[in-house]
Amino acid sequence: MNISDLKGRLGLEELQGAYEDRPLTGGYSSDLLSDVMAKAEKDQALITIQAHKNTVAVATLVGLAAVIVCNARPVPQDMIDAARDEGVAVFRTGMTQFQAAGLLYAALGSGA
């Protein structure tokens, strides 16, 4: 499944759509940015509630494909602007991190 499939498959709101579409290799869920730095892999989707510019910096450094902001947290414009500059997709959902991770896991597991 590709980044562009996230919106439809998980029912997400797309906040930043200027990115290079490519296959997702998995997901990582954490709110500790150092933990994301250490453990998240390239081309994964980050499931988090940390909606600020520094999340984008970490995503860029690790090469993450997308950031999914949960619990309908407000996403500041400067985060979206930074994500557009770096080509990182940003989505938002009212789901909890548990729910979003579950759906993503199932969607990736089905091989589609």
């Binding site: 150092s34 390239k42 510019k53 520094n54 999340t55 910096a57 860029t60 450094l61 500041p76």
Partner: protein
């Protein structure tokens, strides 16, 4: 459009220093005028008129449960629900500031969220004040006046020259071989945090370095950079990219680490609550940086600064 037309990233160094040095508690109003959830919007309207305010936090038994603005009162007058209790119309998900956050946060929040006031909480979660754009402008005017006087008296000339020298150093050396990059970091400047590491990553990519090495260098650099922002008074990040490796020099001006061994232990953290709420300060930084480096030297003492020299080897010639 913006409440406070100050660029928290690109303003002059003097202004930036001001807004990172001043704390929210330095500018907030401490005399609080609050409403209770059961108060009618009409009584809130009278409260605003009598006290000359445009918004009030709503407290339930001392706990902050919402905020009501003059906009809510006008909408109530217009819509005919002015006699309803405040709790039925107040904003419930309140964005708050913490009293020891730098003033730059208050400025960013005002410009970012479109609210005109933010309640201020203490470390232990009690409401201790409120901040409006007027509070910030007043405090900034006072501080800027003081700064101008200092500049005029010539005392600050030396500082300014140093700053200019630093700023010139920050942009220099790009595009040379061996590539040298230099950046400055500032205490609590989360707006620019990560910039040095992002530039390092771009430079390494440009040099065709393999992705695994780039990742390790980026992690080491990012953690050291963020440590300067979170814990130090500010410092410099210098990178030297040679054919066989990346040298990272992270040098700050204090206050130094009292217990290096603890600081290098995973999970040990001295970060405060609001820094943790941003996703930092989990006690993973230095261990991450060390693990990602092939060589790692750290020197620090209380009262002086911390210097870290890290080296990440480039596994050259092998096609990644």
């Amino acid at each position: 459009m913006e409440s406070i037309p100050i660029d928290t990233e690109g303003a002059s160094p003097v202004v930036l220093e001001l807004i990172y040095r001043l704390k929210v508690s330095d500018v907030m109003t401490r005399e609080l005028v609050t409403a209770a959830p059961g108060d009618s919007l009409r009584s809130v309207q009278h409260l605003m008129r009598d006290r000359g305010i445009t918004g009030a936090p709503v407290l339930d038994g001392g706990r902050l449960v919402g905020i009501v603005s003059i906009g809510d009162v006008i909408a109530a007058l217009d819509g005919g629900w002015i006699d309803e209790p405040t709790e039925s119309r107040m904003t419930r998900s309140v964005i708050v500031l913490e009293e020891d956050m730098p003033l730059s946060f208050a400025i960013s929040y005002l410009n970012r969220y479109g609210y005109r006031r933010f309640p201020v909480m203490s470390r232990d979660g009690a409401l201790v004040g409120i901040v409006t754009a007027a509070d910030i402008i007043r405090a900034l005017l006072v501080e800027m006046n003081r700064e101008v006087e200092r500049l005029e008296s010539g005392l600050a000339r030396e500082n300014a020259r140093q700053r200019a020298a630093q700023a010139a150093g920050a942009g220099g050396g790009e595009g040379r071989e061996p590539l040298l990059l230099s950046f400055t970091t500032r205490r609590f400047d989360f707006e620019n945090a990560g910039k040095a590491s992002t530039e390092l990553k771009k430079a390494l990519k440009g040099q065709g370095v393999d992705p695994a090495t780039i990742r390790r260098a980026a992690i080491a650099s990012y953690e050291l950079e963020l440590n300067q922002v979170i814990h130090s008074y500010g410092g410099i990040m210098e990178f030297s990219i040679g054919a066989d490796g990346v040298e990272i020099l992270a040098k700050d001006t204090g206050p130094g680490i009292p217990d290096l061994e603890s600081a290098l232990t995973e999970g040990f953290s001295t970060a405060n609550q609001w820094i943790r709420s941003l996703g930092f300060g989990a006690g993973l930084g230095l261990p991450n940086a060390k693990r990602s480096s092939d060589e790692f030297f750290i020197e620090s003492a209380p009262g002086s600064g911390t210097t870290v020299r890290a080296r990440v080897r480039i596994i050259s010639e092998e096609k990644a």
